[in-house]
Symmetry: C2
Subunit: 480 residues, 2 copies
């Protein structure tokens, strides 16, 4: 009873898939060989891609060849090439061939990992690899599944922050928020430089934006612990319930490092849940020389970092850890009859559906497993060091050039800088470079000033690409 | 400046990827050719898979061949084969080769679709294909992006329900919940048979489980509109704020169909947000003869269905529609400086990050585009009809056999039934069949009785598989 090759089933047969699937593999390999020749930022105009597509769905099936041709003809012009070595915008979202193969296998197996029972390997490989990462990054033992904690793969740091906040909310109210709803007394804290996802989470969880305190930062854009402590005391004396602090290890805007230890001590004193968001920068802890970024992490209740940013793993792959997994599970769990099963009842297994919002989940641990095994710890360390070195070189060129200035410390792989000619000049520099298609970089505002961000972390970015970026930047500046 | 094949970079080269990637393609094709010979439900014991894995991550990289061998040796025994034609458990999560190729391309391109600007094609293809589906399923025009509405791909119906509830919450409170937090007055409604994700969403959004009214159902397990209306009136007279009703088109437990029109009229009268969750069953509307399930859908504010369940599209792919996209966007949007860009400011583009919880997002429209184009509307209709026919045949066998009884109407592709010998006998039947590895089916409780569920929707399930399931079931029953 093999899938029949009979045309009347409309299915593609395994034999056809062998042929077409291999053509896709070649397409991908070709893509990486030519990606550098494509304009990094798509030059498409709003509506251009849609205008090229047929108005309605086809009534009859079309051939694979037509579809693949359309990818080149219709889709590629609308792609911004995140995998180009000349992509320096936002944050890296670097991938690698081993990761792509992990995604292929995961798509091929097509399993659901919502319960341990729905595919034990999907759950156990995930738990195992996330425990590996606890050692690889020298994270606190409390985050390992061999203690009371554990890790789970989420889609994004946004969802990890939301889950952390929800667990914090329930711990602070003895599950009364889940039962009776929020009552407006809860307060959350983060720095004025934290990611927008914290505000989003606070709104989603029913705390209200007004009850998120954006703590001011120091000259390095890091949270001031003394200000945090004072704000907590003020809220307490006003009868409020401080429940959650989110510290950032490497802000999106400028890669600022909040002082986790000092913040953690304040949280411990007041029994406030501390979440640490290390979305991009956490990966740096693969190298012992960068582990200072996590100093004090043993005081945190939860933590996340994204291998899908800076560890050669396809999006989505955010690793979220908690020190007390029961606190998370009791917050998120709802067990209807149709999901009951012996393994769950036995208490001997992890059911990851209780660790996040969605029920269904893909087999994402495969790609992470492939990446770690292909590169080995030493390969991953090599690349983190290389990216940091390249960023430091770029920062040194900025420092030595009188036209430019650094706008923030560059502790790792992100350099924030600006031309001294002011906001309009910097905006114009950025627009000119991005529209040329030669490279792609983005901006932020620091101390109210328009600031360019150059983030180095793409898989194939090497010294010549960074040198070229600097050359292009100076050329553009000279014609300001 | 091609990625260098130099070993010291630790990267896999494009040439190596051509070789290994094609081996993965063959592995997947082989898998589908042999999946029927594997035990459907994994026979692994808790901890068995982890025990076979090395305790720590490798310091040095390993070869591709070792890794692929380990997939067979260590992972496969822990896989429950959702793609087996003998998988009848939970709900289908059917995939297809065109969809797998879409996933491959998406992984290869590795783009981020958080903003239109970060890859215009990722956003525009998604909007376009979701508009196609509005026509393909004959959904109300209000859900098309050419009106005030529009669709977006989410990971799961759980997240769609959460987003719908959040938008409802904000509409009912004029955005005061987002600003000041929930105040405990809001009330949400769904049937006692609704999916657990509704309760989860109500807790997450800060409404509190006590403020979710589980409306009683009729003899077909469908929500009673009169009871809903009475409950809303009672809540209103108690000074509460009814804000959200979730109706289900095809409950997970028994495929019950809530009467959307009657519920919608009540919601209109009281200006309550109506969300319709058609996670699995919505796909049936591809065929005109099944479109009665959506009667009254024009009264809904939001709607979702999952091509990743019953439309040959890899998980994750939930299609979420709203009739008033501004209501959703104003609920979810936070715009930090580092995400500002000219396209966003122009107002001419969609930025999907404002349509759901996560910021980052994969290029998921590719696989949906491939599936629709490969099968064409007629190919998809063919399979929906075939699955429904097979389920109806199975239901007729149950009806004709005195040992068994139907436990609920079987309107589409799910049959709920039980042996007349009682709960213990049914549990034992199910356990015996599942542990044999010959097929996999799951259970629910209806009217307090243990009930078997046989759901037909896997890509390669044909009549012989259903006949065999029935044969095995009767054989197991005869030895009770």
């Amino acid at each position: 009873m093999k899938p029949t090759p009979d045309k009347s089933t409309f299915h593609m047969t395994p034999e056809e898939f062998r042929r077409h699937g291999k053509a896709i593999v070649d397409w991908i390999a070709d893509y990486y060989e030519r990606v550098e020749s494509l304009p990094v930022m798509s030059q498409a105009k709003p509506g251009q891609i849609r205008a090229s597509l047929p108005k309605g769905a086809p009534q009859k099936g079309e051939s694979f060849e037509t579809m693949l041709k359309d990818v080149d003809r219709l889709i590629l012009p609308g792609i911004t090439h995140w995998q180009s070595p000349n992509f320096f915008a936002f944050f890296p979202s670097n991938t690698s061939f081993p990761s792509i193969m992990g995604e292929m296998l995961s798509a091929g197996l097509g399993v659901q990992g919502m319960l341990w029972a729905t595919s034990p390997a999907c759950t156990e490989l995930e738990t195992h690899v996330l425990d590996w990462l606890v050692e690889m990054l020298a994270l606190p033992k409390s985050f390992s599944s061999t203690t009371n904690g554990g890790g789970v793969i989420q889609d994004t740091a946004s969802n990890s922050s939301l889950c952390a906040l929800l667990a914090a909310r329930e711990r602070a109210t003895s599950f009364a928020s889940n039962e009776r709803g929020c009552d407006g007394r809860l307060v959350a804290y983060t720095s004025s430089q934290a990611h927008s996802s914290i505000e989003k989470a606070v709104k989603i969880a029913g705390l209200g934006r007004e009850n998120l305190r954006l703590i001011e930062v120091d000259e390095k854009f890091a949270m001031r612990p003394a200000t945090l402590a004072a704000q907590i005391k003020q809220d307490l004396s006003a009868g409020r319930v401080p429940c959650f602090v989110s510290a950032t290890v490497g802000t999106t805007s400028s890669n600022a490092m909040d002082p986790v230890r000092a913040i953690g001590e304040i949280c411990r004193e007041h029994k406030i849940w501390l979440h640490v968001d290390a979305a991009m920068s956490g990966t740096a802890a693969l190298c012992p020389e960068f582990r200072w970024i996590h100093d004090g992490l043993e005081l945190a209740d939860s933590y996340c970092f994204n291998p899908h940013k800076w560890m050669f793993t396809n999006f989505d792959c955010d690793c979220f850890y908690v020190a007390d997994r029961k606190a998370l599970i009791n917050t998120m769990s709802v067990l209807p009859e149709y999901l009951r099963n012996q393994a769950t009842e036995s208490g001997a297994v992890i059911d990851y559906r209780d660790w996040h919002v969605p029920l269904g989940r893909r087999f994402r641990a495969l790609k992470l497993w492939f990446v770690i095994r292909h590169y080995g710890v030493e390969g991953l360390q090599h690349h983190v060091r290389r990216h940091v070195e390249l960023a430091q070189q770029f920062a040194s060129w900025i420092r030595e050039d009188k036209q430019f200035e650094l706008a923030a410390p560059a502790p790792l792989n992100l350099v924030c800088f600006r031309h001294r000619a002011g906001d309009a000049a910097n905006q114009s520099l950025m627009d000119r470079l991005n529209h040329s298609g030669d490279l792609y970089l983005t901006h932020t505002k620091l101390n109210g000033k328009f600031t360019l961000r150059l983030c180095i972390g793409q898989t194939t970015t090497e010294l010549p690409h960074v040198q070229r970026a600097w050359r292009l930047l100076r050329a553009a500046a000279s014609s300001l």
